[in-house]
């Protein structure tokens, strides 16, 4: 029954225009990250080549190619921003669409007048979201590999591929948190617009508000990892900065930065620890979705808009 629910949800999702449009945007941004990386790489290499020729003409030694000093995956550093921005919005939509149709159109009445367990139904929906996001993340990973191939003129090595795999696995887990937020909001709201808006509110808080508090109101905290969060004289923000380990947006960005070798080095165990609050949030939200489905009144349909 879990497989039946998951299969139906994936089929339905695949045909929804709003989902396809958001997916197209995310894939386009992933490709753009590659193109931007390739373009800046190309420009710098061209300037470097000109400089080498100029220096050689003057009989001076040339400095090493800057890209030989940079990590192989640094071209994808923009992805660390695109995933929490566009990717998380796409995940919210996946979660919202998973339950909103059944909840608002009254299809839940048809489903639960069958031999369907509520826990099985909720699990099927979560599995569908996990598979959908898994496919999206795999497509993004494929595009990233193509970008690296074009920019570097060779396929990334095994170590780089491993790091890329780890980065996208972490991204999948992070996106699952938002898919589950989308589901929770759909279950708690009887209006489609309110369900989506409250989920987006949660996204704004997690992505922008909390990182500001836990980084001492550093303006760039929403986009870039902040090394010294407690470097503020204000007592309030010194206190809020202590909550940093549970700021999943910051932990995601830091862990991703370490995986892609674009952030200052830290021990591997510390990077692993950064994934724990994300995993914990996903598990907690999954349990909440199952519990909410179990006690939800599917006997009534609402008007939607």
């Amino acid at each position: 029954m879990i497989a039946t629910v998951a299969r139906q949800q994936l089929l339905s999702l695949r045909r929804q225009r709003v989902f396809l449009a958001t997916l197209g945007m995310f894939v386009a941004m992933t490709a753009a990250a590659g193109i931007l990386g390739w373009s800046s790489h190309n420009t710098i290499v061209r300037v470097y080549d000109q400089a080498v020729r100029l220096l050689a003409a003057k009989g001076q030694p040339a400095p090493p190619n800057p890209f030989l000093l940079k990590p192989e995956l640094s071209l994808l550093s923009n992805m660390v921003i695109y995933v929490p921005m566009l990717g998380a919005l796409l995940a919210l939509l996946v979660g919202h669409l998973s339950l909103a149709d059944d909840e608002i159109t009254g299809l839940g009445r048809l489903i639960f007048s069958r031999r369907v367990s509520r826990a099985g139904y909720a699990t099927g929906k979560i599995v569908a979201a996990a598979v959908a996001l898994g496919v999206i993340v795999l497509v993004a990973m494929g595009l990233s590999i193509v970008s690296l191939l074009v920019a570097n003129g060779a396929l990334p090595g095994l170590a780089a591929l491993g790091r890329l795999g780890l980065f996208y696995a972490l991204s999948w887990l992070y996106l699952m948190v938002f898919a589950l937020i989308g589901m929770t909001a759909a279950l708690l709201s009887r209006r489609r617009s309110l369900g989506l808006l409250s989920a987006m509110g949660a996204w704004l808080v997690i992505t922008f508000a909390i990182p500001q508090f836990t980084s001492g109101v550093r303006p760039t905290a929403s986009l870039n990892p902040i090394v010294d969060p407690a470097g503020t004289s204000q007592r309030f923000f010194q206190i809020t900065a202590r909550a940093r380990p549970i700021s999943i947006a910051e932990q995601y960005k830091w862990a991703s930065g370490h995986i892609l070798v674009t952030a200052p080095a830290e021990p591997a165990w510390q990077t692993v620890l950064r994934a724990v609050p994300i995993l914990f949030a996903a598990a907690l939200l999954a349990l909440a979705v199952v519990a909410l489905v179990r006690r939800h009144d599917f006997s009534r349909s609402s008007n939607g808009e």
Binding site: T4, L107, L110, F298, S299
Partner: protein
């Protein structure tokens, strides 16, 4: 299977502190087409929601095919079909895909065959590969009935099945209900406002007024009891006491 198809004893439901269903007692034999009448908000849909296991009663018991709707939910749902009012299926999926989904949820093994046979039985095989989102109300209603009977339940619940249908659609639905009752032996429990349909289709009726069952008898007995009334509409109005 012996005993009545549906048996309700002292059934009640409270919603937000208000008593919307009060001490309802009702027994419906197998093979009956039962018309459940009552004004808006009388508690008809609440009764169907309880009988289809979507809602738990606040007090009293309800048995469908001898199984308790609360304690034996899975046994009840295995053998009932349900068509809510204003049925909406997954609009992005075809009729066949929708039916396949509901057939699989019902645990059918030969799903493809069940779907094809059901569409054929309802004379709507031509709709199989079209997306439900493009259907008219009448077409959606036919697919709605198809999902309700794809697993060949013995009891079928219909909640305002004629809502939004044109006269031709109503006539087609009436014939479908009679066919299902005759060909497949289904007991039909129908909430409706359409008194003309009730008099043409139903074998027994019940009237619910403000959550209380005020009348329950066969159509024959009803006509016998109210010899002065010209139509079921007159009988119904008199029962509800809305005429001076």
């Amino acid at each position: 299977m012996n005993g009545p198809a549906i048996e309700i004893q002292g059934l009640g439901h409270r919603y937000n502190g208000n008593l919307v269903l009060h001490d309802v007692n009702l027994s419906i034999d197998r093979g009956e087409i039962f018309g459940f009448l009552g004004h808006n908000g009388a508690g008809k849909t609440t009764t169907v929601n309880i009988l289809t296991t979507l809602l738990q009663p606040t007090f009293g018991t309800a048995l469908v095919n001898g199984h308790d709707v609360v304690a034996e939910r899975y046994l009840v749902t295995a053998d009932i079909g349900y068509l809510p009012s204003e049925v909406r299926m997954y609009p992005h999926m075809t009729a066949a895909e929708n039916l396949t989904f509901f057939a699989e949820l019902s645990g059918l093994t030969d799903v493809k065959r069940a779907v094809a046979e059901t569409l054929d039985y309802l004379n709507c095989s031509e709709l199989a590969d079209h997306r439900v989102g493009s259907f008219s109300t009448g077409m959606r209603q036919r697919i709605g009935i198809a999902q309700a009977i794809v697993h060949r339940p013995s009891v079928l619940f219909l909640d305002e099945p004629t809502a939004g249908l044109d006269p031709a659609g109503i006539r087609q639905l009436r014939q479908t209900i009679l066919d299902l009752n005759r060909d497949l032996g289904m007991t039909v429990f129908m909430n409706t406002h359409q008194l003309s349909e009730v008099s043409r289709v139903c074998t027994t009726i019940g009237v619910l007024n403000s959550g209380e069952l005020i009348y329950n008898a066969s159509m024959e007995e009803t006509i016998r009891r109210f010899p002065d009334e010209k139509s079921l509409e007159d009988i119904y109005v008199r029962m509800e006491g809305t005429l001076p």
